[in-house]
Symmetry: C2
Subunit: 121 residues, 2 copies
């Protein structure tokens, strides 16, 4: 199967992009439920992610496409992709190879606890 | 305990806000790992969330603070808040009362599967 050259118009019509043409992409480990990172996708990054079964982001800092794992080996194999109710966020469930964070931590949130007040349920 | 009037400067210094002064906030059910929704916070929304133990967002569509559950009853009790490695995303782990999505679905991603190609791991 070859990937289509453009994102499926039925999907493209549902995206609510920000001023830079991007939607947020939450990446979650499919079996443990661990939230690994947040990235950004434009239509082309989403097209590649859906078609290749590997996660591609748009890197806002570098201004280029970034297929996760191409340099680090820390590939994200796609298990499912879902768009939220208002079209501005994706939930990408993956099987992560190695650590998700460039720091070597398993997730990008591992070192960032802010010490919130914990309310009784 | 009374909440401070401004966000802890040590936390504020770590935030990498977008052009609108916001960071993305992923909300996850603390025990099941289910990703419930993505919202947005400015410094004040984060201050309230950390101080009150209830999640407050900045609503981009309505242009106002929005404490989840105040009208629906579908409150989000905060269990932890973590900032990611580059400071532009928060992971808020909560105990969700009722459905997280305004559609009545448990999560905002329930109806949005995009049928990704599933790669072999």
């Amino acid at each position: 199967m070859t990937s289509p050259a453009v994102l499926d118009p039925a999907i493209a019509a549902r995206l609510k992009r920000d001023a830079a043409g991007l939607v947020a992409a939450i990446v979650q480990q499919h079996d443990t439920g661990e939230v690994l990172m947040l990235g950004w996708m434009d239509d082309e990054a989403l097209r590649r992610t859906l078609g290749e079964g590997r996660v591609t982001f748009w890197s806002r800092s570098r201004g280029e496409y970034w297929r996760k794992g191409d340099t680090s080996g820390h590939v994200q194999h796609v298990r499912s992709v879902a768009l939220d109710c208002d079209g501005d966020a994706l939930l990408v469930r993956v099987d992560q190879v190695g650590a998700a964070c460039h720091t070597g931590d398993q997730t990008c949130f591992d070192a960032g606890d802010l010490g919130a007040q914990v309310a009784a349920p």
